[in-house]
């Protein structure tokens, strides 16, 4: 059972308080997009063994969506941050890089 700190209300939330929302930072492809773009938007998800950026909602808490950077293998949590951003914060990326020198953001 994971613990993630909700960046909005500051609660260290138990997994039972949270709802997982899958991969973060997807670009919505709507009218005018190619079939391939649509496919990647709707279905094709990253499934890395390692660093992953995810969406979570503090559903049984403050109700806010947020982002989490997490290792899918060790379950280490690198940090949580606002859902209202297009990319992870620079400071978070460099702290991940410091811990996982071989990791490449894709």
């Amino acid at each position: 059972m994971l613990i993630l700190e909700c960046p909005y209300c500051g609660v260290k939330a138990e997994e039972t308080e949270l709802h997982a929302g899958g991969e973060a930072h997807l670009t919505r492809h709507a009218t005018g997009s190619t079939d391939d773009e649509l496919k990647f938007y709707l279905f094709q998800r990253k499934n890395p063994k390692g660093v992953h950026f995810e969406r979570w909602r503090h559903v049984n808490g403050c109700g806010k969506w947020f982002h989490a950077a997490r290792c899918t293998m060790t379950l280490e949590v690198f940090g949580t941050y606002s859902a209202q951003t297009f990319e992870p914060p620079k400071a978070l990326l460099s702290s991940i890089k410091a811990k996982r020198p071989d990791w490449q953001a894709t």
Binding site: G21, G63, T74, L75
Partner: protein, 1003 residues
Amino acid sequence: MSTRIPNTGRFLDKTAPATFTFNGKSLGGYAGDTLASALLANDQMLMGRSFKYHRARGAVASGAEEPNALVNMGADDRFEPNQRVTTTELFDGLTAKSQNHWPSLNFDVGVINNYVARFLPAGFYYKTFMYPRAAWKHVFEPIIRKSAGLGQAPKARDADRYEHFYYFTDVLIVGGGIAGLQSALAAGQSGAKVLLLEQTANWGGRAPVDGAQIGGKSADEWVTETLAALQALPNVTIRARTMGAGVYDHGYALGYERITDHAPEMDAPRHRLWRIRAKQIITATGAIERPLSFAGNDIPGVMLAGGVRDYLINWGVAIGERTVVVTNNDDGYRTALTLHKAGLKVPAIIDARPNADGDLPNQARERGIAVREGRGIAKVKGGKRVLGVAICLQDGDGGAREEIACDCVAMSGGWSPVVHLWSHCGGKLNWIEEHAHFAPDPKRPPLGDTGEGFVVTSGTASGAMDTPEVLKDAHLAGKAAAKSAGFTPKRSQAPKATATTEAAMAPVWVMPKNATIELKAKMWLDYQNDVKVSDVQLAAREGYESVEHTKRYTTLGMATDQGKLSNINGLAVLSDALNQAIPQTGTTTFRPPYTPISLGAIAGEARGEIFQPLRRTPLHAWHEDAGAYMEPVGQWRRPYCYPRGAESHEDAVAREVTNTRNALGLLDASTLGKIIVKGPDAGKFLDMLYTNMMSTLKPGRCRYGLMCSENGFLMDDGVVARIDEDTFLCHTTSGGAENIHGWMEEWLQTEWWDWKVYVANVTEQLAQVAVVGPNARKVLEKMGGMDVSKEALTFMGWADGTIGGFDARVYRISFSGELSYEVAVPASQGRAFWDALHAAGAEFGAMAYGTEALHIMRAEKGFIMIGDETDGTVIPQDLGLHWAISKKKTDFLGKRAQQRSFMASTERWQLVGLETVDGSVLPDGAYALAEGMNANGQRNMQGRVTSTYHSPTLERGIAMGLVLHGPDRMGEVINFGRVDGTLIPAKIVDPVFYDKSGEKQDV
């Protein structure tokens, strides 16, 4: 025979005798006994029958690792199967029955399986019973179900209560032996909050039995002092009878406390599940002794050497008068010495090692006990109890035997650390050649949310085998955990303990080494699932190389004991058969819980009424008083119909439909989702959510809308009312309100966070009543307060005002095709308004109607229902709802997905109405048959029924369905299949069966 020795038993309270029954026979014991020790004290060696071969079985161990001795406990609403006698504390009035036999424990016809064992090899389920196919269902399965299985399933509802307990701690320590106690002391002295759990009722673990000396005192004295020291620390909590059941991600752990199992008269929950979040977890879980694999090692009276020692010292029970000890290590000698000291006979110690000249073997020799080196047991003699052993050379094939009469065999194959909790969450193991066991690798612990290890092992669980090492390791573990949890441990040393010297053990996986196949087929690895050495070797010969596959093929380690005794021996035999080293074979996965925990504890308080919260509308009590037959709709209960007297549900529904169509029906529509969407961008937002245009809706007007997922599929529908320029009220389906509210939040928070919109779910703030039928306007006008005339409140309009003095918002919308108003009033006034409607409506024929009447009336009108016409694979275009899909909007959720070629295909099944030729009702979900077969040899289909009812209005069966090219095939008759294989012909018709022009709702 097994018997009680006077003046012994460190756990017993002889002043508190207890009477219990086993298979109806009344027996005696004492407080402090386990059911196992009490049975053995009464010479009840035979405790059950094995799973597959129905062999006679007794206890082989003294603790949680026991595989054999499981019983049915209690009776009626306190009946529980598969209770382990070794972990069941005796109490006065306990009743137990042995299981898995027929007709009786002593005479069991199932034992025939034992004699046909060669026809029941590993994987026999997969090899047998394949053909003929029908025989499986009618012959094989019923026989297997009857003869296999362990205890009986309880029939009555559990009379006990259970609870969950949330606990947060810096350090959790599992195991109350000397290691756990020392770790708790070291961690507790740092000031860290410590929780120490022990699964049994007693502290100190094995050390007192093994005669450990700590700081010049006996282990018992040291345990008493250390417990007192811990109790004096306010930051340390200790709990006996509480097992650490599992370790999970990020320091989550489960404790399983058995509160009243030993004292059923206590007024308390029976079990308590501790849901623990710990910064650090110390596993001080000790070790489990391994059996040796020799023929007949499952006969009652063959027991682990440590267990024999435990029964004697802890419970004053001698398992036999003459005990042969068989061992591959020095620890087994402790049992021989203990028995000898108690005046019991040890005719021989069979040591598989070629030389045994360590300190302990020499002590045995000094006491005149015969030590037979390089020997093994060829075979145990006896059936329901041990009569003797035949001994042979360990290096031989079991020939050239010499017989020794005895009534107990104490076996020791060495000790394996209990690594379960360490492994549950990913801790890795190393193979330790010296002790022939797996031990935790401290460099590869389970990792927590910071990426650092959160579990440390302590004492024997780390692989430390002698008391001084154990205490030193435990002390360091306690300090390390406290430090990792952010505390500063005190500078202190572990207490000094007296060291003992043990010579090296020798791994022995099969005894004798070159045993014949006959002998191997009687060497039990997994007692509970009846897996033998020969089974694992057969699996290896048949190509099973992975230990995980072998486990499943042979069922080794798959029983309720999860292979606590069998796993290491089993994988050693497998490794040998595969000619590879043991670490190369590896272990199977350790999964929680450590031993089975009750389903009651897992459920906790969540049972009965509070299993799932029930949502009640403001009118719920009225429905119940009216005798409504309720149906679940999400977490709501809604009236399906209101039967009167002996009236059938069908008749009640027909009456309600007819009355609504002809006079006045009243429906509790409060469950309908109501979501306020407000803000300058509300219109723009709803244009994205709904397929049609909402931003053009005028205040005071309503519009029906559809919502699709981003994948294009229809997910919800409902009427949207524009309240003012900035405010909309969206009605959703009853079951969909929370999801749709969440859906709106998701888009607003994660995609369009710069749009100025707020949403609020106000479903429960309002009571809503549908006033339906030709007399609907009359009753509202009679109650008075606002103008609800055709001209003032037109169809698809809404208005605020008062009705009969109630603050009301009235929507002129219809889901039945009749003149209809939906009136929303504050929830607190809902019941009074409903009563007032009935009173005023009496003269107009007012009658409540339920959800089934609602469904029928909407189907008569051809209105779709989410969940009937949709199932997550249906798009609005399939349902002929093109009129509700905007062509002007460049974007809405699902629009792009609906442009995909297969979404636009004319081959998609389309909504039509269906009328059976004979007027009967089509079966729900029935498929329409087409010509030919598909690639799988199944009949081709051309459509299916989505809604089907008997229409009281039309007095015939009506249905809606999705049919290939349906709208182009009006009038065509197609065949639907019944479950029995017969066909029902039905004609494709327009889905609007009633009032096609819609004039009735617009009067």
